[in-house]
């Protein structure tokens, strides 16, 4: 039987252990058009982070300048930016502390639309 890659043999306990938690979370981020100048015109970016707050820092290191567009001087998300994790508005979850899991999709959407 094939062993899943994330199972590793631990020589001390002679058990197979799950190292999934050691890998950084890979999250797909959808970038809105007004920010694509900062992502070399890419509409999606792969990022790491276990929360939205961490994800913002990870985004900033791969796309310098992007955090300043999304957050105000106090580090709070700007009021006209909406974040969604797997299609749910983070204001219905834990806001900036919303937990992220491997494979999650985060959408950054300008709040101004519709009506």
């Amino acid at each position: 039987m094939a062993i899943p890659l994330y199972l590793t043999h631990d020589p001390c306990t002679q058990l197979m252990i799950d190292t999934e938690f050691l890998k950084p979370m890979a999250v797909k981020v959808l970038i809105p058009t007004p920010l694509q100048k900062l992502t070399n015109d890419q509409a999606t970016v792969e990022c790491q982070g276990t929360t939205i707050a961490e994800l913002l820092n990870s985004l900033e290191s791969s796309c310098p300048g992007i955090k300043g567009r999304l957050c105000d001087d106090n580090g709070e998300l700007r009021r006209f930016v909406n974040f969604y994790v797997n299609s749910e508005d983070i204001r219905f979850l834990d806001g900036i502390n919303t937990a992220l899991n491997d494979g999650d999709e985060v959408s950054i959407i300008p709040a101004i639309a519709g009506g």
Binding site: L30, P32, T33, P34, L35, K37, D41, A43, R69, L70, R78, R79, F80, V81, N82, Y84, S87, D89, R91, F92, S107, I109, P110, A111, I112, A113, G114, G115
Partner: protein, 433 residues
């Protein structure tokens, strides 16, 4: 990514740029709607000196019998805008409703009979599609709770534009039919309006389409200013004391305000304080909740109300609507679904106007504000009725009685008439039968 080509502004156009409402950054007049620095909404900036120099009450009155008589205040360049007779709807003095509520000077701005699709959306779409054509779009689209889809599909058909609209899958039958008949592509999204809107925000800019309420939103939303201009003109070139309007995204509310201010600024009407009050359905009342709790931010909600046309849980212009209601000494109230049905019936029975659930909400909030002493009986109050009741028949089904079925014989008619009069009397006496 396909981008529309920018045409050179033609002489005569009075708008000069898009300007961020938050940080004042300026942009070219292209199909963009958010500031790339702070994500604030972009709004059209005009050369008001030019407007003041060229526009008079007489020049407006000599213009077409439609919103295009206010063309100098609208963000288009075309010599021939798309004019399907939109606007200049009746401003009805509502004496019977006023008496019922204990008011003295009440008017209904009746956009239930706006052309061509019986809601105020024809105003914003006429402007958006005129601008879409100028920017080179051949396909137009929208995220809609129903009325906007009707309007976009109809006016796109008239203008020969391709059309693809997105609606929540659970809309009223009349609103779906009233879109399908114009043969656009209709995407019925399994989700609420906010989810439709989010999806469209992701789709906008990927297919090179003009989304009237996303990438064309700065132009589109300006169309609602005509609801302000018309009321001022129809009141004999003066402003009312108080307006009551429905709140969904909050855009219409803020643009009526902008319309009044512009008329004052260019000298078409005298300045005076106008109170702005907003109406929401309790089952989707994020702006009313923020008003009540004295918050300056909106907490989104998941809508659950019969008033689907205004069921926006995540309103784009909510903070601006809040601000206007507060600074004009107005109010924002909400009413439950049963009050909305009563509001629809009250307007129909007293004024002969059959409105949809948004109008029922607005009438019910008007009543609530009067009962709470928040409308002075002597204020000139204008209530905006923005949509037509024939599109949301489900909402009143079972609450409006039934026809008396009779045989084609005189005595059958007489018996039925007697029976109906007895029932009327019983209802009037409030006696349990």
């Amino acid at each position: 990514m396909t981008q529309a080509t920018q045409l050179k502004p033609k002489s005569g156009a009075t708008f000069r740029a898009l300007k961020c409402k938050e940080c004042s950054a300026e942009y070219e007049t292209k199909a963009i709607h958010v500031c790339e620095y702070c994500f604030g909404p972009l709004e059209v900036a005009y050369d008001y000196n030019e407007i003041r120099r060229t526009v008079t009450r007489e020049s407006i009155q000599a213009g077409p019998h439609s919103i295009w008589r206010y063309r100098a205040f609208l963000p288009v360049e075309s010599e021939q805008p798309i004019d399907v007779g939109t606007g200049l709807t009746p401003l009805v003095q509502a004496n019977r409703l006023a008496r019922r509520l204990g008011l003295n000077k009440l008017y209904i701005k009746n956009d239930a009979v706006n052309m061509p699709t019986l809601s105020f959306k024809d105003r914003v779409v006429s402007v958006a599609l005129t601008r879409a054509r100028e920017l080179g779009f051949s396909t137009v689209s929208c995220a809609s709770t129903g009325n906007l889809a009707n309007s976009t599909a109809a006016i796109a058909a008239h203008a020969g534009l391709d059309c693809c609209v997105f609606i929540p899958a659970d809309l009223e039958a009349g609103k779906v039919m009233g879109t399908l008949v114009y043969s656009p592509t209709v995407m019925a999204v399994q989700g609420n309006y906010d989810q439709v809107n989010r999806l469209c925000s992701e789709v906008a800019n990927t297919h090179g389409w003009g989304f009237v309420n996303i990438n064309l939103r700065p132009y589109y939303s300006e169309g609602s200013k005509t609801l302000g201009y018309e009321v001022a003109e129809q009141l004999g070139w003066q402003l009312p004391d108080h307006i009551v309007a429905p709140l969904a995204s909050g855009s219409l509310f803020t643009k009526i305000y902008k319309g009044f201010r512009e008329f004052v600024d260019v000298g078409l009407v005298d300045d005076k304080p106008v109170r702005f009050s907003g109406a929401q359905a309790e089952g989707c009342s994020p702006i009313a909740q923020a008003f009540r709790e004295e918050r300056d931010f909106i907490t989104p909600v998941k809508p659950s109300t019969i008033a689907k046309s205004i069921a926006i849980g995540n309103p784009a212009d909510g903070v601006y609507a809040l601000d206007i209601a507060r600074k004009t000494n107005g109010n924002i109230e909400s009413v439950i679904d049963a009050e909305i049905v009563d509001g629809i019936k009250l307007l129909a029975e007293t004024e002969g106007i059959f409105t949809e659930t948004a109008g029922g909400t607005t009438i019910a909030v008007l009543k609530k504000l009067v009962e709470a002493g928040k409308i002075d009986p002597d204020e000139t109050t204008v209530v905006y009725i923005t949509g037509n009741g024939l599109k949301t028949q489900e909402a009143v089904q079972g609450y409006v009685g039934e026809p008396l079925t009779i045989e084609p014989k005189l005595d059958s008619f007489e018996r039925a008439l007697e029976r109906s009069r007895t029932l009327d009397r019983l209802e009037w006496q409030q006696v349990l039968v």
